[in-house]
């Protein structure tokens, strides 16, 4: 996989900020990416040393789109993949750090 296609975006929420205390950073990644791809992408793009990568598939859920003047239309929220990357001690990703 191309290295620029792997990481979609960093995720910064209350929960992930908490994880940063353990030097773990959270990303939304491409569905097709595997742990090895993600490790390589993070190491090359942020110039850090990655200790481990955990990934999970976030299921798509049935949703409804409501629009004024139209009947609610059932749609499916897209499935996506989340990766939690643990960095080596002393390393950090400034772009996501709180």
């Amino acid at each position: 996989m191309e290295i620029t296609e792997i990481l979609r975006k960093g995720i910064v929420t209350e929960k992930t900020v908490k994880l940063q205390a353990r030097n773990q950073y959270t990303f939304e990644v491409a569905l097709q990416a595997n742990k090895i791809d993600i490790r390589r992408a993070v190491e090359q793009l942020f110039k850090v040393k990655v200790v481990s990568v955990n990934v999970m598939r976030m299921p798509g859920k049935p949703k409804q789109i409501r629009q004024r003047g139209a009947a609610p239309r059932p749609v499916e929220a897209r499935e996506w993949k989340k990766a939690i990357v643990t960095l080596a001690e002393g390393e950090s990703i400034d772009a996501l750090k709180a």
Binding site: V12, E14, V17, K97
Partner: protein
């Protein structure tokens, strides 16, 4: 935080404030804690976002600026209370852009009330004038009562002065019809003013059922310039002549005018005399107060900031605006009527506003020096007093403050009167009436501006609409 206060001779104060970087940073911490509770950031509940995230969202400088603003207003407040300054309006801020990691300096300029240097009022002395009531004054009052209970009797004779007639009256000037009244009652007077000047002498001598046409000239100074100086053509048809019948001055009359309170005319005379004396005394005291206050103002030293006068002018205009509203006018219409621009009108109010400001300042300073305060009980009593005269005032904070201020002024004035005059010979009666008088006076003070304006207005409106019909309603009352 280092604050230095410098008073300028033009009644302004300059506050110079020095802040260290540490203080700025602490303030920004506070600002962050406040801000974070109000800003929505995705992924965080309100108040839970870390500082770095918030900085990314609203900008680092913004948080610091918030903190600085807080510091500035705090410094301002402290400086005011520590140095006992009374600001008149918002201060102007001279704050340079701040830089990170550096100490910060800013200055504020604020117009303040400079305390009045009171003249030595304790050494001032005024004489209370004697008041007496002459029998003529009583008779005059009695006569006006007599006039009020006049009865009109229909009579068969030509019209004379003082009669009341009922007539059709049509008034035209050239092509224009000014008024067309049917069966209108009015009194014949030989000194009529305004539109109908000169009408009465033509009507003189007419008999019931008679019709007459005649021409007069509308006076040059009539308020409607379109009609002033023009000829007015009258068509008058007389329907009824009535003559005035005064009730006889006897005990019967006494009973009637006093609602059976008094049996004899002598009693009524006495009561009237007392009334007049009371009233004279009151106006006398009022005059004396004004005199003392004026003297005190003249001898005291003032430094007044123009803003204060400006504000008073606006206040006066506002009150006057309310007055106009009651007559279904607005400010613009009024200004057009008297042919003035807004600026001219303001200019005109200026001297009086200045005088009022001086009065307020003097009384406030005096109250401070004499330690005159108003407590909650007194205010409560005032509210009750107002209720008794049928005025239910809302007990809002604003209203209470306004009452407190006017009542304190009232008290201060009374104290000033005590200090500068010999005690009133019949102090006792005054003592009882003091509360009431205070209420009345406070009320009077509250609407003083309006009354003055009313008088002017009333005159004008009367001149503009002095139809015969109006005058009769007045006499009937």
């Amino acid at each position: 935080m280092k604050v230095s206060v410098e008073k300028l001779p033009n009644s302004e104060a300059v506050l110079n404030v020095d802040l260290t970087w540490d203080e700025v940073q602490k303030a920004s911490d506070k600002a962050y804690k406040k801000l974070v509770k109000t800003v929505d950031i995705q992924g965080f509940r309100r108040g839970k976002a870390p500082r770095a995230i918030l900085e990314r969202r609203v900008g680092k400088e913004y948080i610091y600026q918030e903190g600085l603003d807080e510091l500035i207003s705090e410094a301002y407040k402290n400086a005011l209370s520590e140095n006992d300054l009374t600001p008149i309006s918002q201060p102007t801020l001279d704050a340079p852009a701040f830089e990170m990691e550096k100490d910060y300096h800013f200055s504020l300029v604020v117009p303040i009330v400079t305390p009045v240097k009171l003249a030595d009022y304790k050494s001032m002395h005024f004489e209370r004038e004697e008041v007496t009531v002459s029998s003529e004054e009583v008779e005059k009052e009695l006569e006006s009562f007599q006039n009020r209970s006049v009865e009109w009797k229909s009579i068969e004779r030509p019209v004379e002065y003082g009669d009341r007639i009922k007539a059709d009256l049509k008034l035209t000037s050239g092509e224009q019809q000014i008024s067309d009244l049917k069966d209108n009652a009015f009194e014949i007077a030989n000194d009529r003013k305004g539109l109908f000047t000169g009408m009465d002498e033509h009507i003189l001598g007419m008999k019931v059922g008679e019709s007459k046409s005649f021409t007069t000239t509308i006076p040059e100074d009539y308020s409607n310039t379109k009609l002033a100086g023009k000829e007015a053509n009258y068509d008058v048809t007389l329907h009824l002549v009535e003559t005035k019948e005064l009730p006889a001055l006897d005990d019967e009359f006494a009973k009637k005018v006093s609602d059976d309170q008094f049996d004899t005319l002598e009693d009524v005379r006495k009561a009237l005399g007392d009334n007049i004396l009371e009233q004279k005394k009151r106006t006398n005291t009022e005059e004396l107060r004004n005199k003392i206050l004026k003297e005190l103002i003249e001898k005291s030293e003032f430094v007044i900031h123009p803003t204060l006068i400006e504000e008073e002018v606006h206040e006066m205009e506002h009150q006057f605006g309310h007055m106009l509203e009651q007559q279904h006018l607005n400010m613009d219409q009024y200004l057009k009527m008297v042919n003035k621009t807004h600026e001219e009108y303001h200019q005109e109010l200026h001297p009086e506003a200045k005088e009022r400001v001086k009065q307020q300042l003097v009384l406030e300073q005096l109250a401070r020096e004499e330690n005159i305060t108003v407590d909650a009980n007194e205010i409560e009593a005032l509210f009750n007093a107002y209720e008794q005269i049928g005025q239910n005032l809302p007990r809002t904070e604003e209203q209470i403050r306004a009452l407190m201020i006017s009542f304190r002024r009232e008290k201060t004035l009374s104290r000033l009167l005590e200090l500068t005059t010999d005690p009133d010979p019949d102090e006792e009666s005054e003592e009882v009436a003091e509360e009431d008088a205070a209420v009345v006076n406070a009320e009077a003070a509250a609407i003083a501006g309006e009354t003055e304006a009313t008088e002017n207005e009333a005159e004008e409106s009367e001149a503009a609409t002095s139809l015969p019909g109006n005058e009769t309603t007045e006499t009937v009352e």
